[in-house]
Symmetry: C3
Subunit: 210 residues, 3 copies
């Protein structure tokens, strides 16, 4: 039941991330096959790492190839229509935020549904939400999102923590999913809109950095 | 039977890719241990990812360490004889193409032999053929092959698709392997020889890219 | 029994590597969550790859989340106290060497304890000791340690080989662990102190490198 609900939300996050992967491909002026590869890796990468770490076999997209096919179709569509999206690249960061918030919750939910404890479930939520984008950036030759001075991983961490915490105290899963998703999304949006960041590490003056 | 045939071809692709990994090490002027690491990662990397994703345990080179030892030996030999190879670096791109075509077919064949469906088998062919080189480029600090304006992933995709398609329609495996291999190799060679590429994504004039 | 002994040593190596990961985060001026992520990936990354490759489920830190929590705590502590460490960055390379030597032996020991043969156990020792740092450098946007002109992988290889070799000839595990650890540490220290390196590959004059 939780699994079904989580699965439904997973689909949207997958499509959103596929678009962001395809957009990176567009910025590298790849061909349509490059779009398909980068879109797929971004869309299913985080969940794949989650399943491999948890030892879930078969991996979700091998069990249901429709996940992979969806990524490919979305990425190819982006190849044709990326012009429109590019004009709205900033809006896409907001779209990516939705995928981040969704995967933080669904990743943690999948872990819980497979019997993982609280700590591991939160970690899996963060991994599912962030590793797809990290792989996308590394393969696409972009500076990894985790190096940008933005609230990103933090949003996934908060969202997964809120969701798992509420599930642990026996809240209904609808409430847990909703609040987890909203808290992650709100935090990421705040980061994007107001440039909100956590205090960064500040080296002391005159400290040699290398 | 398919497995045996596939396994035989795997060995040659493994050696070819080990050489390309060692060559990257030579360009970074690594020591012989660096050659062994980069050669091994390139030679067995793609198949390792395939086995991990498919949940095949033990992984092929853990089941038969001879695969790993072969990579190490080939890489160490390259350390000693890379001078000769360097003069022929362009020829090596053609050698790499042979490995790409072989792994596209053998990767898909391994997936089929383990009961994967058509979509997943094609995906595994592409992953086996390309991920070894991708890991090599990332570890070696080279621009990933997938970012270069060449037909590369596409060749693996076509080769794996032809092979799987022919197997699905009941062609003899010899025919399927031969035609899959030839189609991938021909496409990659055409890309190398005539600089043939698929149409790349072209941003509209005046579109901001970042 | 071997497992218990190995496990104990694993903890120290884990903490040391977490600090090195957090230090990279400090050089990128990440926030505390970035410290936690990079510290954790560095601390548990090598062992995770080892467990995934060997098909060990559940993975050590999923079985015992205390491993993950320790990495997070150590990384967060580094966020607060990195100033002190930075002044001693060179000493930290020596600390990293201790982690390298520990993981080379414990990684190989874990593989042996799970029934792997000599070749694979040595390979797992090298993977456990080096991949955490490699992932750290890639995610942190640093030049991978394997590209630096230092004895690093070699030290792990020697340490794992000495340990596995002694175990194979029936030496007591205490002796094997001690000599494996010391040989790896001594070699890495020699590399750091005297700039000792293996002969690097030297391209012939006038050979085109690309």
């Amino acid at each position: 039941m939780l699994q079904n609900f989580i699965t439904a939300l997973d689909w949207f996050g997958l499509c959103v991330f596929s678009v962001t992967g395809a957009l990176v491909a567009s910025r590298k002026q790849m061909d349509i096959v490059g779009f398909a590869l980068l879109g797929s890796v971004t869309g299913i990468g985080g969940g794949t790492i989650r399943d491999v770490l948890l030892g879930i076999q078969p991996i979700f997209w091998i069990k249901q190839p429709a996940y992979l096919l969806t990524c490919v179709i979305v990425a190819c569509a982006t190849f044709l229509f990326a012009h429109i999206l590019q004009y709205r690249y900033r809006y896409l960061l907001w779209l990516d935020a939705i995928g981040l918030a969704l995967f933080a919750v669904t990743g943690a939910g999948n872990a819980l549904a497979h019997g993982a404890g609280s700590t591991i479930s939160v970690a899996m939520g963060v991994a599912t939400a962030t590793f797809g984008g990290i792989i996308r950036d590394i393969l696409g030759g972009e500076s990894p999102i985790i190096l940008r001075q933005e609230i990103y991983i933090t949003a996934a961490l908060i969202g997964a923590t809120v969701f798992v915490g509420l599930m642990e105290v026996g809240a209904s899963q609808d409430i847990a999913v909703a609040l987890g998703f909203i808290s992650a999304l709100a935090l990421r949006f705040a980061g994007l809109h107001w440039g909100l960041t956590l205090p960064r590490y500040q080296p002391k003056a005159g400290v040699q950095q290398d």
